[in-house]
């Protein structure tokens, strides 16, 4: 589904991603872990098409299409979704309001019929129940005055509404208490299917108790330095990132 080859990216002339290789197949969940500032969010934003990051090398194929050639909205249409680490507050635009426009834009792109007001309401009601997001939150301006947890829940809600093929969750667990974490994880798991895939960025192992990944990758200083199965996450939790050059059970050092 997704193939990232030797991806290098700069911000303001500073090299952040230094050659990322990652392949995600349909049905898989990949987790990306790594210390603060290692480039996790940069990778997520580059995937979504943020133009403040300049891609200097490499390519990204999404279902065989050159993702870097597509605008952010086209990527959404193709089925990519990013749950932001820092969701943006947008005064004056309610979540419901903009999601209708977004869903219909995406449906149009996918060659599906646009939903009328009734069908849309039914659709979001179902999804809101899924992530247990209160209806009145959706009638407020997007993320404005939301608590950290409410913002994250809103991201997962939007994901559920837009039904992407590939979801990238950037630290969606930070700021959530354990109940909220369960709900969010449940929302993500509901979307799991053989046709869909996910990249879960986190730096706590605890989310991975609920969203069990097929693969775990460790990103340090703009490179994936270690890949393994879910046990790698447990090991990281124990030992931190200091051991990374050593051999670990279940881990395969990545050839540089």
């Amino acid at each position: 589904m997704l193939e990232i080859r030797n991806l290098q990216a700069n911000v303001e002339g500073k090299e952040i991603l230094k050659g990322i290789n990652l392949t995600v197949a349909a049905g898989e969940i990949h987790s990306i872990m790594g210390p603060n500032g290692s480039g996790k969010s940069t990778l997520a934003q580059v995937l979504a098409g943020r133009d403040t990051y300049e891609v200097t090398e490499g390519e990204i194929l999404f279902e065989g299409k050159d993702l870097l050639e597509l605008s952010p909205d086209e990527r959404a249409g193709e089925g990519l979704f990013l749950a932001f680490q820092y969701p943006v507050e947008i005064p004056g635009v309610t979540t419901n309001y903009f999601l209708k426009a977004a869903l219909n834009a995406v449906r149009k792109y996918r060659g599906e019929d646009e939903l009328d007001a009734m069908d849309f309401l039914a659709h979001i009601k179902e999804k809101a129940e899924l992530v247990d997001i209160p209806q009145d939150l959706l009638k407020r301006a997007i993320n404005e005055g939301f608590s950290g947890g409410e913002k994250k829940r809103n991201e997962v809600f939007q994901m559920a509404v837009l039904e992407p093929k590939l979801s990238v969750l950037d630290e969606t667990d930070s700021g959530l208490d354990i109940d909220a974490l369960r709900i969010v994880a449940n929302g993500v798991n509901q979307l799991r299917s053989p046709q869909r895939a996910g990249i879960v960025i986190t730096h706590y192992q605890r989310l991975l108790d609920y969203i069990v990944p097929d693969f775990v990758h460790v990103l340090v200083d703009g490179r994936i330095v270690q890949s393994g199965d879910k046990d790698l996450a447990l090991h990281l939790e124990d030992k931190g990132y200091g051991w990374i050059r050593e051999d670990v059970p279940g881990g395969e050092p990545v050839a540089s």
Partner: protein, 445 residues
């Protein structure tokens, strides 16, 4: 300069006609006021950008243009011409075609007894004592050439009186539509008197058919007697070639509550002087405004809130959206006189620049002579938040639609406050029509 002199000559010739009684001029006392106003206009001349209050707004094209008095056939205009401006049931609708009252398009039928809503020309010829008492008594012309010119030249407009204690549920709507193919000028004059503890809503729509070229110079005086509640809206949707220079003067007495919203959408050059005199204890005044402009449009909102008495609150909230090479001006003067203790005045001006060539000047001025007051003002000028645009794009909205949605949200904040449902919907439509991807947005939402 030569052109200006010639122009003054044109106006002088016109004024002679008024003096000679060729044009219905009203009572002797009004004629004296007209004379004073005209002589003041002659002294002042049209302001240049050297004048502090006209620093950012160059009205030379008005001074230089050969705008003759707009001639009109009283039967001109049709119901279809007026249709786009209607927004639902009104207590009275007074339509003016090319500045002149058009009875065949107006509806003043079902008014509560004692309410007067009629054309000014009509009121002038009948010597209404309220006219003598109020007309040209509130809008000062000694420092304002355009108000002076209006006072000297006024021929028609609306006169509305609400008796004490009467509550008029539905709005009273004034529609000024220019349809004349011949360029020209006119000077609408409106007087609106709300008796004590009365309540009313007044809407002024100013518009021109496509391609019309004219100079409209309206002056509206509104008096709110003690405890009256006024809701006022002014919508500027003049033609793209039109000049609109207006004055709104509110005179508020004790405990009265006035709110006025100015929406400027179309017109080549628009200048709105919006002034309120808080002349009684415990008044409330809210002045809102939004302008959404593009191309080479120029819109200047000039506000003066004069706190003359204690315990009054004033709120000013103006938003500018500027695209293309348009230029916006906001000037807000708050005066707090010695007497006006416990004044609470707040002014906010927010501008959104959508292009590099658009420009805005925001100028707050506070003159505070009382010591126990609360006065705040804040101005922000910015571009669209790129993070927000990207966020919306990442959800599937294309770049232009994402931008349009953000602009819409920004401007909606003022329109949301409109308390007449039909008018709010009309303004919403107008706003959407002015957005780059408005049509698409409307379909999607």
């Amino acid at each position: 300069m030569i052109e200006v002199k010639e122009q003054k000559q044109t106006y002088a010739t016109r004024f002679e006609r008024i003096e000679a009684g060729v044009v219905e001029g009203g009572s002797a006392s009004l004629l004296a006021i007209r004379k004073a106003a005209f002589s003041r206009f002659t002294e002042l001349g049209f302001p240049t950008t050297k004048h502090e209050e006209w620093q950012y707004t160059n009205i030379a094209p008005i001074a230089e243009a050969e705008f003759e008095r707009m001639e009109t056939d009283t039967a001109s205009g049709s119901i279809d011409d007026i249709a786009p401006f209607n927004f639902g049931a009104c207590a009275a609708t007074l339509v003016f075609m090319n500045g002149k009252f058009a009875p065949h398009l107006s509806a003043v039928g079902n008014l509560h007894e004692g309410i007067r809503a009629r054309s000014l020309a009509d009121a002038l010829s009948s010597d209404d004592p309220l006219i003598t008492r109020h007309l040209a008594r509130h809008a000062k012309f000694d420092e304002h050439a355009f108000t002076a010119l209006n006072t000297a030249m006024m021929e028609d407009g609306a006169f509305v009186y609400i008796p004490p204690g009467v509550v008029v549920e539905q709005p009273i709507h004034l529609i000024y539509l220019t349809s004349s193919a011949q360029p020209g000028s006119y000077h609408p004059r409106n007087l609106f008197v709300l008796g004590s503890s009365s309540q009313a809503t007044l809407v002024e729509s100013y518009a021109g058919l496509e391609g019309t070229r004219y100079f409209s110079n309206p002056v509206t005086e509104i008096v709110t007697e003690a405890g009256a509640v006024l809701d006022h809206y002014k919508i500027v949707r003049e033609s793209d070639e039109a000049f609109h220079v207006s004055t709104l003067q509110l005179h508020q007495h004790q405990g009265s509550n006035a709110s006025s919203t100015t929406v400027s959408m179309n017109g080549r050059l628009v200048r709105n002087d919006i002034r309120t005199l808080l002349d009684g204890d415990g008044c409330d005044c809210t002045l809102n405004g939004v302008q959404v402009i593009d191309g080479t449009q120029h819109v200047d909102n000039h506000l003066v809130v004069d706190h003359a008495k204690p315990n009054c609150n004033s709120r000013e909230f103006f938003k500018n959206v500027l695209n293309g090479k348009s230029r916006g001006v906001f000037s807000g003067r708050i005066m707090v006189r010695e007497d006006a203790q416990k004044t609470d005045a707040k002014q906010t001006n927010q501008s959104l620049l959508l292009s590099e060539d658009a420009q805005v000047d925001s100028k707050p001025q506070l003159e505070i002579l009382a010591d126990d007051v609360k006065c705040t003002h804040g101005a922000t000028i910015g571009q669209l938040d790129e993070d927000a645009v990207f966020y919306l794009q990442s959800r599937g909205l294309d770049f232009e639609t994402a931008r349009s949605l953000l602009v819409y949200a920004f401007a909606r904040e003022v329109i949301d406050e409109v308390r007449i449902d039909g008018l709010r919907n009309q303004l919403d439509e107008l706003l959407i029509a002015r957005l780059p991807q408005g049509q698409l947005l409307r379909e999607r939402l």
